[in-house]
Symmetry: C2
Subunit: 251 residues, 2 copies
Amino acid sequence: MFFPVQAGRASEDVALQIEAAIMDGRLSPGERLPSEREMQSQFGTGRGVIRETIKILKQKGLLEVKKGAKGGAYIRRLDVNNISESLALFLKQHPVEPEKLIEFRETLDRTMTQLAIAHADQTEKESLLKEAIRLEEMLRENEPDFIASSELDRQLNIMLARMARNPLFEWVMHAIQMGFNSHDYALYEDTAYRERAAANWKNTAQAIAQGELMRALGFIGYHYVLLRQCIAEKASLTNETDADFLQKDEQ
Amino acid sequence: MFFPVQAGRASEDVALQIEAAIMDGRLSPGERLPSEREMQSQFGTGRGVIRETIKILKQKGLLEVKKGAKGGAYIRRLDVNNISESLALFLKQHPVEPEKLIEFRETLDRTMTQLAIAHADQTEKESLLKEAIRLEEMLRENEPDFIASSELDRQLNIMLARMARNPLFEWVMHAIQMGFNSHDYALYEDTAYRERAAANWKNTAQAIAQGELMRALGFIGYHYVLLRQCIAEKASLTNETDADFLQKDEQ
DNA sequence: TCTTGCATTTGGTCCTACCATTGTAGGCAT
DNA sequence: ATGCCTACAATGGTAGGACCAAATGCAAGA
């Protein structure tokens, strides 16, 4: 039941030591690690081990590496993107039925709306409304930019999440949006959908600004009704894609 | 406005190529990559670059490396733990007020309860109830095992998530529980809390098994009332810890 | 004072040799 | 023929050295 103390994991070992030092606060964001050649002698290993260590920690998002004099490995503050990337990678291997995603997002949206009305200040609420109006206008143009508008849609979601004054909602929304970026562009190509969705965003923002919770929730509900309709239409049009998706989902 | 085509990122480059091959399905879980020395010549680089590449992909959870003959880098199917680990790491650097965590979990719990009643089969519902009863019994012992019981509490949560038939809830719950493991043990040390919490779990499971949504939601609500009380008590007892926490949260 | 250019620091790459682990094939003994 | 053991080969793990490339700073020169 004993296991070898070090079964070829020198780089993992060093990585753990450095990670621990960062988490303990012995190393703070912005600080620099010694140069590779220095650590090489400090840890008593070859330089290769140190380099592999650095790659690991860099991949974890804990380090940022710069070349040249005054270069080296700098401690980096983690940000949400690391989680988002992990999630996105995971989702590529584990496709989720659109309905499941909608179910999840609707839950979050309803709560965030509630929290936003309670906690956000008036400035933010009006800013949300302003952006929603901007989205509506953007789509009224002759040749709407789908990428820009679905980007703005994302922005609105993030704003709402931030207004909820609960970072967890913000982080999860962020990660979810990054993970599912591919599907969303397509929706904004549907003329009928995008205009009603934008109008609905405006209504939602208005209700939030006026503090009318139930009305806001009603609009949120309508938003997801629209989404479900739009997806159902797309699915019935292209059976092939649907079959593909189901197949992928099976494995 | 031009940027150098390869600013010292050979290993990242190779990693991207392999990652793409995995995502395209050109490489499937279980398959083996060529040996380091072979790839070295295939990619036209030194062996160090290949090794760094492998470390990166291993850290991402895409590879598993074995030594010896028939060893090498094997493609691995991603699992939720990678996300959980990213989140846990992130949360260590970004502490969250307990109230915010409760707010978030309560939202998920309420929806999951609703979905579980609608989608789970009777077998599962009874199994949930059985485990809840087991938790209650476990705490009635003379010397309850805090770690085991808070582990069982986690299990109950995961079961509920699975019963919702929506993998997103399952994954997020999993990640959240991994990320916040440290706080939760402590709660189960409070005698008054843990017994009422367990009894409440039983009631909740019972209501779910009987398909009584509103009653179940009522119990869920009570669960979080208990949690909030428990945390408030702890906070008022140890002002020092609380001050520490706020300080950490500021930075 | 500004520019140029050299020197230094530091990561990026290649190479080569050797060690450690593991699976297997072949030989040896029963 | 069977079963055990050993030697070998494949493969990742480590060490150390040499050189390249980029970034910075300083010094010399215009």
